[in-house]
Amino acid sequence: MFQTDTRKKPLFRKENLTVAALLLASTLSIITTIGILFSILFQAIEFFKLQSFWTFITGTEWYVGHNKSVFGAVPIFAGTFMITAIALLVAIPVGLGNAIYLSEYAGKKTRNTLKPMLEILAGIPTVVYGFFAALTVAPAIVELFELIGIEAAYNSALACGLVMGVMIVPVITSLSDDVLRAVPGSQRNASFALGMTHSETIRHIILPSAVPGIISASLLGFSKAIGETMIVVMAAGLRPNLTWNPLEDMTTVTVRIVDSLVGDQAFDSPYTLSAFALGLVLFVITLVLNMISLVQIRKFKKKYQINSL
């Protein structure tokens, strides 16, 4: 009555083929990572054959001339961290405030209107932010500081940092929002039962529980800020400038990468190759930040046995 499926064997062979194809497709992400690493690494090694690694890491002078060039990247790193620090000073408080409002106070309807607006903000291309920084924010800052008699550059680190901060706000908001909502309701209820006010519950119970997740979100924002290119290319300076004054122009790693690769210099000149050395630094820093961020979020998930996120 029941017939054996005579096609059984070929059918399974076909399935093996499918699985093999799927497996092959999923190796692409590994190949890409390795590809990025090696394409940067090989050129960076070429660079360090020509230039000293020690000068690159600790030198405070970056100078490219016809006969003699010095590649000391400290002013470039300093500029990157200055702009990133300003961005994070804006983005972390605002992002966290947004997340607390969305997850704790906002009603369902408010949430449903605010979320898509945040998605729009998150989707604005960085080249647009760059134009906004250069056209609107930077002149406004110059005028503002002129009022109190302080001179600011038109490509100040402050303008870049502020706009970059706005760019990161949706990143930190949406991740922290997810994390805050994932804190188990039992904790909240226990706190309310003890007579704590809503704000006390948030500050003393929910936020401390969510700390690993918030750290993870901030680190992700940090790595986004370091790797951000268009805002700084359009609104920051080109001149490596070692200073503590955010009103001066400063340059960043990504600006130098773009600048040395769009020029018409030979591909094997130290100037062009320096882009890859800087790229390597960028790769390593963002990789480490992402790893720490992943470990933190895993810690959070393990503590409260959350499977989503």
Binding site: T27, N98, Y101, G123, I124, T286
Partner: protein, 387 residues
């Protein structure tokens, strides 16, 4: 008198504190939202004048002299007002329609950017006597702002009044076709493998770690990969939509994989078990039953990935897609530019007239992006299944 054991003398203060905290968070969301609104308003305000372009009504003499020195076609007084770029087309016009030769016609002709900026009351370098002339012509109705169709129907130009965005739009479309043709199938295949077939072993975990990392590697590093591998190693043509699309595909891949996995995970196990119960192979279950149910979710994620790829600039600059492209590219291997790269190029132009073009380009990008996002939200709402 017995005192109330629940009476907390600090209660009023605590409640005030609670209200203050709540207000602080409300302030932060209000700041964020007002930034978004101010930003959109500011861009729209800057972009709006680009929808209009100044034209002058002048007599154009189609003559032999005009084919050699195109400025001869216009009366001497009008020469500083008429766009040189427009006049350059006169020989072509005569070639297309020989009957024009040796005729004089009164026509609405593209004015220079300076006249255009003067009419819009922006900063301009029009000489005082020219300004008087324009003013007089305006009273006669011979200078006017017309609806700017040229902006959407022409390619880039170094001359601001002649620059349009069409070549960048075509470049973007070609690039995104390559991106989606690669990233969509490969992303969905990876997601299907990881969710439906993979065992939990070191390889699977390694792939997952890699995907997580790719999602947060700075985009400019993908540009370095494209430059050294696709262009220098494989020898693919620089500045082409092919290389740009391939580079963007690698960036879009993680977004598609993550959303496709989430969509597949939300398909209940009972569907798979029913399939096994009927004697289907795993391949059949995934292909005919799991994937179709998960498809809306997969598409939503892909559209969001597409919107992000459309706005990406940094890696494309590295692989040379900021070239000057006056004509729309006709194939995947020709040099091309994309919308955000065009915006970047224009933003670096010294002429004031390019500011509004840049903002208009940005509005085009934002409109496409919002349409894509709205489509994604619509898809999510319409086909969302609650199990």
């Amino acid at each position: 008198m017995t005192s109330n054991p629940f009476n907390d003398p600090g209660l009023a203060k605590r409640h005030r504190k609670a209200r203050r905290f709540r207000r602080t968070t409300q302030l932060s969301i209000a700041v964020t939202m007002s930034f978004l609104l101010f930003f959109l308003f500011d861009m729209g305000r800057t972009a709006y004048p680009a929808l209009w372009q100044a034209y002058v009504e002048v007599e154009i003499t189609y003559s032999k002299a005009a084919t050699r020195f195109t400025s001869m076609a216009v009366g001497k007084d009008y020469r500083p007002l008429v766009s040189r770029a427009w006049l350059r087309n006169i020989p072509k016009k005569i070639e297309a329609d020989p009957s024009l030769m040796d005729t004089t016609q009164t026509q609405w002709v593209l004015a220079t950017a300076q006249v255009d900026q003067y009419m819009k009351e922006h900063h301009n370098t029009l000489k005082p006597d020219e300004a008087v002339q324009v003013e007089a012509l305006r009273e006669q109705g011979k200078v006017a702002l017309h609806w700017n169709t040229r902006f959407f129907s022409r390619g880039d130009s170094k001359i601001p009044e002649y620059a349009g965005i069409l070549s960048a739009i075509v470049g973007s479309v070609l690039t995104l076709i390559v991106t989606m043709a690669l990233a969509f199938p490969l992303g969905v295949m990876t997601a299907v493998y990881l969710e439906e077939f993979a065992r939990d072993n070191w390889f699977t975990r390694f792939v997952e770690v890699n995907i997580n990392n790719l999602a947060s590697i700075p985009s400019i590093l993908f540009g370095l990969l494209g430059l050294s591998v696709f262009i220098n190693l494989f020898g693919l043509p620089r500045s082409s939509p092919l290389v740009g699309g391939m580079t963007l595909a690698l960036m879009t891949l993680p977004i598609i994989i993550v959303s496709a996995r989430a969509a597949l995970r939300s398909v209940p196990a009972s569907i798979r078990q029913a399939g096994y119960g009927l004697g289907l192979t795993r391949q059949n279950i995934v292909k005919d039953h799991v994937l179709p149910v998960a498809m809306p979710g997969v598409l939503t994620g892909s559209i969001i990935g597409l919107a992000q790829a459309m706005g990406e600039t940094a890696p494309l600059i590295i692989i040379g897609m900021i070239a000057f492209i006056p004509d729309a590219p006709g194939s995947f291997t020709e040099a091309a530019t994309v919308l955000p790269a065009q915006v970047f190029t224009w933003s670096g132009m010294p002429e004031r007239a390019f500011v509004e073009k840049t903002a208009a380009g940005i509005m085009v990008i934002l409109l496409v992006m919002m349409t894509l996002n709205a489509a994604a939200i619509y898809l999510r709402k319409k086909y969302e299944i609650k199990w």
